[in-house]
Each structure stands twice: as C-alpha cells, then as structure tokens.
Symmetry: C2
C-alpha cells in the first residue's frame, strides 16, 4: 500500500527543496531553505524543510555526489565543507525513522520513470545536462544502483584522453564538453578562433565572460556562429549517448537538467549526430531521445519515491 | 529443477563448439565442426554438433554479433555471408524445440557468473579481449540484456573521436586499441617510430607483419620496447574499464578472450592504469580485475546456461 504522505528532499548546491507526494503521486506540499555550509548545518536545513512540509510517512533524500548504498555522501563538489557525510544515519537519528538517500540524478531518473518522460519503460538512462553531467540507469525494469551505489557517474566517462583537464583529475571527461560548462568552453574556444561576436557582445564585450548562456541566447536569435557551437556541443552530447547505448542498449534517453529548458534548440542537432554516431544504426531501432517532464522538482519528487524502488 | 542435459553451442568464426552440462554443471559431452559459409550451412553445422553431443533437454546458442531478444543475428562481421539470420527460429524448427540465443560475449559472462570467476557476484562486467572487444553485464543480480538484446557492445565505445577509423564506420572505438588487433596496431605504430626491433625480427623482418602476438612474445622475453607498447595497451584497456565503472559501478571485471591467456603480462599494468584513471579512486573500493576461468569453452558453457537466466 502506498503511504499517504511520502516526503522527498533534494539537497542542491544553493537550496534544499522538499515535496510531499500523496498516494496518487500528487505534490501536496512544497518547501525550501537555502543550503548552508558544513554537514551539521545541512542536516539542520533538511530537518527544517521536513518540518515545513508537515507530517510524512516516509522520507527520501537526494544528494549531489557519490552516495553509498547505506546513504553516506562520500564527496560533494557542490556542497561547501561536506565530505564523508552519513546523511541517512544522521537525518534518521534526528527524526527517528529510516531514511533512504541516493544521488540526485538517480532521484531524477526515478521521478521521470514513475511520473514523467520514462513512464512504462524497462530500459532507459536519465542524463542530466546541467553545470555538470549526471545520470541514472533503469535496466530490465529495475533501478540499477551499482555495487557501491555509484551507478550513473557518466559525466566522467573519458571521451578524449588528450582533452581538457577536469577538476576530477582526469582529461577529456564527457562533462567537459556536454554540460553547460562545456558549452561555455566550446564557446570561448570559438571566440579565440575569431568567431562568436554576438555572444561576446551579450557578455558585455568581455571574452572571458562568455558562458553557455550567451551561446544559447545568440543561437536562439539565429546567430550562425553560435549555432555552429551548439552543433559542436550536440555532437559531444550524442557521442556520449552512443557510448552508453553500446554498453546497455536502452530503449530511450531522458535528457534533463538546465539544458533541457531549450529542447527546440538542442534536440534536432543532438538527434542528427546521435543517428550518425550510433553503432550499426541501420540494424537497430534508435533509442528515443526524450526531454524530462518534471523540471526542477524532479530530484525532490524522485527522493520521495526512493522507498518504493530501493 | 535443473535438466539432466543442457546443451550449448558457440558459433564462432572458425568453428562451432558444443558442450552438454549435466545437473551438476559438469561438461559431460563436447563436439565441434568447422563453421561453414552461409546461413543455411551454419544451421546444418549447428544441428550436426547437437547430434554429435547425444541427447539433450534444453539448447542454447551463442553467436557473434548483434543478437535480438528473439534470437535473430542481425549482423555478424566474423561469419561469412550471414545477416538477418533467425537462428533461434531456424534451429528451433529443425529440432522441434525452443532454442535460446544470445551474443557470444554475453554467453561467456553467464558462464563465468555461474561457474567461473564471477561466481556469487551481483554486479560485474565480462570483457572479452580478443580480435575485437565484447562484453556482458550483470547488474543487481540479473543479466542485463538491453531493450533490443544488444547490451555489451562495449568494443565500439568511442574513446577518441580523432582516433583511427573502425570498420564499423566510427573513429577511435575502444577495440581499435584494447584488442589483439589494437595491440598489433600500437606495435606497428611503435615500429614506425623506430622502436620494437625484436618484434620486427619475430615477424620475419616484415614490419607490416607485426601483430599483437609478436609484441606479446617480445614482451615476455623482457624486451623493453615491447613492454612499453604493452603498457600503452594496458592504459587503453584501463581507460575503457574506468568508463564502464562510471556508468554502472560493477564490483568486478572479468577479463576473457585470447589476451586472457597471459594475465601475468597484462594484469599488472592494467591494474596500475586502472587505479589512476578511475574517477575518485580514493573514495571507493576499486572494482576487482579478475581473469576468466573457463577458457575457450566459456561461450558454449554459457549458451548451455541461457535457459536458466533468460
């Protein structure tokens, strides 16, 4: 039986967002507080959000970074002063209940699977294209968590060992190209090459201030240089999707994160490159490319569903 | 209840190898015939092997290439004049029974999972390093087949879009580097660079005849140039393993195929590079690197087990 009030909290770099789902999967409460610095303060913030949400029967939490199967956040590049953070145990002790915790992109995958773009699918991969790239995998009708719980760290798949350095210590990680940060990097590279005047203008004339946003805006205006950078970006996105297809053969990808806000701009070139980069494209149905439906609440909604799928 | 006689046939590029497993998973019969050209002849060959094996209760077949979930071999680069080959239906009609068919590397994964190096594991990836690179995936205690049955085509994961062309039409596919063919290519590149004199000597002085085998032999003799090529090869193998780890977080890899015959040569440098290329290596248990235990019969043994896992 589905509990009447399932609460989920998405701990993000800037805010902790909470929701409550009723037994019909409707969002019946929502609350948020800024994400503070330090593990103790984050626990306080999560508890505060949960209290604002009113009563709940179950609680799940999404957190950014490597989350173990027992709910320890090993590393969180986007949280300040947080590491080896036993989220499930600490929040559970404060509230006196069992708390499920998983990676935020995995939570988004669960939300899209149960209530969004991937409803009814047994095999799909969620790809969150934001500042970085995250992922979640459903295969054979089940959420894949991995031996340690680290399934879906797809942003650090190396797609060019001679590529630009990544803060993770590697070179040429997929998210150096296929994220919002990657779009900005490709843009600044084009500027250095004497292109992309409109995007530089949008950045107030400051070459170093060109980010993904200035490329996107110029491309939406029809600027040819910016559209070429978007096409290059789309090729990198598609290359990673093709690699994932080779490994686990999903029925569909669900693309989410900040870049999912402009599917009309990104989807056609991604689909074009995906068809060209797929292995044996003439011998297989091409995995569908869908855009996420649940928007910025996907992480919190998926967290609320964690008790159902773990 | 486990049937008393489970038959499996591995259809390879040069031979069709069949085995029968009894209810204790012992190989109690074995037979082989050369693989002929053309789909009809291959069916005849499989039926002949099955007849040579004596009676059986169930039959599974492993085939090289893209095998659909209903047992159609879509494309088989290593079989002559074979495409869109309905193996399960055709053999099933000839023998009057239901036949399970899967990709040969997937069969090897099943064999190692049930009877070999991956016994008891819920999350591992089989990687066959032969002329090409194949794979099979077990996640959450279940064989992952993929939406179409094409899970594990890991050899065509692109690891350098500016890399050498692949017969598949892509560039820089993993198997261009991490296979027996890749080891030979890295070797010939070293020769062109003025190195690897001993391997050229082993190839009868013919630079173009240097293959993986000549690199391996020279390296086993302690030749420094050949060991450097093996190290480069190991780095490419490890890069792909790290990418797969980021996607599905296995507990272990099982390395099989022809290259698994010399683990003492390949394992130390692969392990070294794997530890360096893994994402966040200090925050996680490193997936174990194991070598396959079942040898050249792995595909046939796994085929015999297909009815148990599909």
């Amino acid at each position: 039986m589905i509990p009447a009030r399932r609460a989920g909290v998405d701990v993000g770099g800037t805010k902790c967002l909470g929701v409550v789902l009723d037994e019909h999967d409707r969002v019946v409460a929502e609350a948020q507080v800024p994400t503070p610095k330090g593990a103790d303060a984050v626990i306080d913030a999560v508890v505060e959000v949960v209290e604002q949400l009113g009563g709940h029967d179950t609680l799940g939490i999404g957190a950014p970074g490597l989350v173990t199967r027992s709910g320890v956040l090993r590393a969180a590049p986007n949280l300040v002063d947080v590491q080896e953070f036993a989220v499930a145990a600490l929040v559970g002790a404060r509230l006196g209940e069992r708390v499920e915790v998983d990676n935020d992109a995995t939570c988004a995958a669960v939300a899209e699977w149960r209530l969004g773009a991937a409803r009814g699918l047994d095999d799909f991969v969620m790809v969150t294209l934001g500042t970085g790239v995250g992922g979640g995998v459903v295969a054979g009708g089940r959420l894949v968590r991995g031996a340690n719980g680290f399934c879906g760290e797809i942003g650090h798949m190396v797609v060019d060992p001679d590529g630009p350095p990544c803060p993770c210590g590697g070179h040429g990680c997929w998210e150096r190209y296929a994220s919002g940060a990657g779009l900005g990097w490709l843009g600044r590279r084009a500027v250095a090459d004497g292109r992309l005047a409109r995007s530089v203008e949008l950045a107030g004339g400051d070459v170093a201030a060109v980010r993904g946003e200035e490329v996107r805006t110029a491309a939406l205006e029809g600027d040819t240089d910016a559209l070429a950078v978007v096409d290059e970006f789309a090729r990198w996105v598609a290359l990673g999707l093709a690699n994932i297809t080779n490994l686990i053969d999903p029925k569909a990808f669900v693309l989410g994160g900040g870049l999912a806000a402009s599917p009309e701009l990104y989807l056609p070139p991604i689909r074009n490159w995906f068809g060209r980069l797929l292995y044996s494209p003439h011998l297989r149905p091409h995995p569908e490319l869908r855009f996420a439906e649940l928007g910025p609440r996907a992480g919190a909604v998926g967290a609320a569903l964690l008790h159902d799928v773990h």
